[in-house]
């Protein structure tokens, strides 16, 4: 039911508990807020802040810091985009998106939109940078590559609404 392509869902939004002013048109604001203005630059700033925070530890080498940045970024992205399901508010579509992760909700399921492309490309760029700054060391490479796979595989359109071994199904 969730996974029949990208039909734009529309409907009446439940008014209780939401900030009023006029009932909103989009039923699931979760699908659209990543398209907001300035999101890409803010995201890059966020990653930069994380990196600078890690760089401020004096006992970590540059290579370790880059690997940590990459791994922490990928873990956080994995949790927020691919583990947490549903919406933090009561959505107006009678719970259709309750079993969908945030990645599956973006743009109401339409694949290959610019937001999805951006979120796919950022871990790859981070991986390139990390490989460069760790001087292609094999241990760092393995760790970073596994982190990259962890965050890239769920983004494939073939994995849309797929739950492996029933993990995280309900």
């Amino acid at each position: 039911m969730c996974c029949r392509g990208g039909r734009r869902a529309m409907g009446v939004v439940l008014v209780w508990g939401m900030m009023l002013g006029g009932t909103p048109a989009q039923v699931n604001p979760n699908s659209l807020w990543l398209n907001s203005r300035g999101m890409w630059l803010s995201y890059a700033c966020g990653v930069l802040v994380l990196h600078l925070a890690l760089l401020s530890f004096p006992f970590l080498s540059v290579a370790t810091v880059w690997t940590l940045t990459n791994v922490i970024h990928n873990l956080v992205m994995f949790v927020f985009l691919h583990v947490l399901k549903g919406t933090p508010w009561e959505s107006g579509d009678q719970g259709k998106v309750r079993k969908l992760t945030h990645w599956e909700q973006i743009d109401d399921g339409i694949q290959f939109t610019s937001t999805r492309k951006f979120l796919t490309v950022v871990p790859i760029i981070l991986f390139f940078l990390t490989s460069f700054y760790t001087k292609y060391d094999s241990f760092h490479f393995v760790v970073n590559f596994i982190a990259l796979l962890l965050v890239l595989l769920p983004k494939l359109p073939q994995f849309h609404c797929v739950r492996l071994f029933g993990i995280n199904k309900y």
Binding site: G17, M19, G21, G22, P24, A25, P29, M39
Partner: protein
């Protein structure tokens, strides 16, 4: 291009051939009325005299395409940061509540061992950690009619908005939040006297549908009056404005039809489209170029899967959008409609009575012919101080709607009292009650709107929407600033509406003023002074445009 010009000349009986305007120049007067005859349709009622603003300027064909000012990027960045902080604190407090460090005041299911939970706690994350902490700025109980002043019942909260206690005191506040454009939301005055006198004549409510016994004399009179007011052939009224959209769109479109609706259309329009099972595509808000592009694309593609041609194409827009304050670019829309031969459904919920030199809505404001719009829709809730909605257009169309509408068949008909109220207001607005109160109110509203908007612009606030629209959204961008402004205003005795995510997009939190004709200059000045003071305190004067230092005369 060539065919369009010929289309124009045919409609004008070949009289305007020599001066036929180029298609690009669409703010020219001749395109819409050519000696009273447009496209072979004769206007039903005599056209109103040449429209003029209160300042004496002609506003025929005037187009003011407003571009909302964009705020610099660092504000947006800090806005996202504020959400990150809110979410982090939300998770932290949830953890504290779960481990018992903080008292958990949420409802918990009891005696449900082994059952699956009814509600996820994640689903109420927003309500618990964001909305509840600021909910005293919304849904305030009132104790008076929502006129120019409103009496709000005070609430105290000893435990951060988990519970409210009522000390019994009331605050009388200037009402800048209610849709009371012409000031008819009052319970004294000649119109209410009129309604009181007719209680004996008409029953209070009918309790039945239009198709059975609900069509009373008051409603029939109202329908004729509405048609005359708008300048069209015929109209039908319904008891509920939301219901008018929801129960009637299916009569005009169905499967195999295309609906192009603005992305910020009201929920009632969306529900109506959804119930009709037509294919719906949205275009960017108030962007006629995007509309034309999407229209061309859809006309070429045809129906989904079969690619047959569309049975009907209809464009659904609103006159004034309640959250943005923007006015639809009507002349351009009519040009597009005529070029591609589609229909237009115009929802004038907020613009009927509120704009236009005679208060007849967006068509009046631009000087366009209301017969160019295929279906005019509007509500009586905002400017008329009543409740209900209407649909107006050609007689054959309205007759068809009368038979097939769900609203007429299943919903309760409008109460005769309400119909009398609306008829009285309409008569006043048309000037037929012997006074010029209607015209005075319309002028007063326009004057208040211009004064308020220009003063706020001069102070440095970013306002969305057209300069003439009485809906004034003032941008705050930050979610936490909205309740701050509302609470401080409440202490001062001013009331307005705030709106943030998820009702608006993430970074466009705003506070909305609705100007009324019953606002006096002192009330407006008090609000402006308050906004000036709080604008400096909270640093919400984001505008970077150059503004004039000249004095704004009322």
């Amino acid at each position: 291009m060539r065919s369009n010009t010929q289309h124009m000349t045919n409609g004008c009986n070949g009289r305007a051939t020599s001066g036929a305007p180029e298609v690009g120049v669409h703010h020219h007067k001749h395109e819409y009325e050519c000696q009273g005859v447009t496209n072979g349709h004769v206007r039903h009622s005599s056209p109103p005299p040449a429209p003029v603003t209160p300042n004496g300027q002609s506003c025929v064909g005037r187009r003011h395409v407003h571009v909302n000012e964009e705020v610099p990027f660092h504000i947006i960045l800090i806005c996202y940061l504020s959400y990150v902080v809110l979410i982090l604190f939300g998770y932290m407090r949830d953890l504290m509540r779960k481990t018992g460090l903080e008292r958990n005041t949420n409802a918990v299911e009891r005696d449900r061992e082994g059952y699956v939970q009814l509600y996820q706690s994640f689903e109420s994350f927003y309500t618990r950690n964001i909305y509840r902490r600021i909910r005293d700025a919304w849904n305030m109980p009132i104790a008076s009619v929502p006129g120019a002043r409103i009496t709000i019942i005070d609430r105290l909260t000893p435990d951060y908005n988990n519970t409210f206690s009522y000390p019994g005191t009331k605050t009388e506040a200037i009402n800048m939040g209610s849709y009371n454009y012409l000031g008819f939301a009052e319970n004294t005055g000649p119109i209410i006297e009129n309604v009181n006198n007719t209680i004996d004549q008409y029953i209070v409510g009918v309790g039945t549908t239009r198709h059975e016994l609900g069509t009373t004399e008051a409603i029939s009179q109202l329908e004729t009056l509405t048609a005359r007011y708008l300048g069209v052939e015929s109209s039908v009224v319904f008891g509920m404005g939301f219901g008018t959209n929801a129960t009637n769109i299916h009569t005009i479109v169905g499967k195999g039809c295309l609906v192009l609706s603005d992305e910020l259309n009201h929920a009632s329009l969306i529900l109506g489209c959804r119930l009709s099972r037509a294919t719906v595509r949205t275009f960017r808000h108030n962007d006629m170029r995007d509309l034309e592009r999407k229209l061309r694309e859809q006309l070429v593609l045809g129906q989904p899967r079969t690619h047959r041609e569309w049975k009907k194409v209809i464009i659904i827009v609103e006159g004034i959008y309640s959250m943005e304050g923007s006015i639809i670019d009507l002349p351009e829309l009519i040009r597009i409609k005529k070029k591609y031969k589609c229909y237009v459904y115009l929802d004038e919920a907020h613009s009927i009575g509120a704009i236009g030199p005679h208060g007849r809505g967006v068509c009046d404001y631009y000087g366009c012919d209301p017969n160019d719009i295929d279906i005019l829709m509007g509500t009586f809730t905002k400017s008329f101080g009543a409740a209900g909605g209407y649909l107006a257009g050609k007689k054959s169309l309205i007759d068809h709607i009368r038979v097939h509408s769900y609203g007429d068949a299943y919903a309760c008909a409008m109460a005769p009292l309400v119909a009398t109220q609306i008829s009285s207001v309409m008569t006043t607005l048309m000037g037929e009650d012997g006074t010029n109160q209607g015209q005075q109110r319309i002028k007063q509203l326009a004057r208040n709107t211009r004064y308020f908007r220009r003063k706020l612009n001069q102070l440095g606030f970013i306002l969305y929407g057209n300069d003439d629209s009485p809906v004034v959204p003032l941008m705050l961008y930050f979610l936490p600033k909205i309740p701050a402004v509302i609470r401080m205003a409440y202490k001062e005795g001013i009331g307005f509406i705030g709106a943030g995510f998820p009702a608006t997009s993430l970074t466009t939190g705003r506070v909305r003023f609705c100007i009324s004709a019953s606002h006096t200059r002192e009330m407006l000045d008090k609000s402006i002074e308050f906004m000036d003071e709080i604008g400096d305190k909270l640093e919400i004067k984001y505008s970077a445009r150059r503004r004039s230092k000249s004095e704004i005369i009322y």
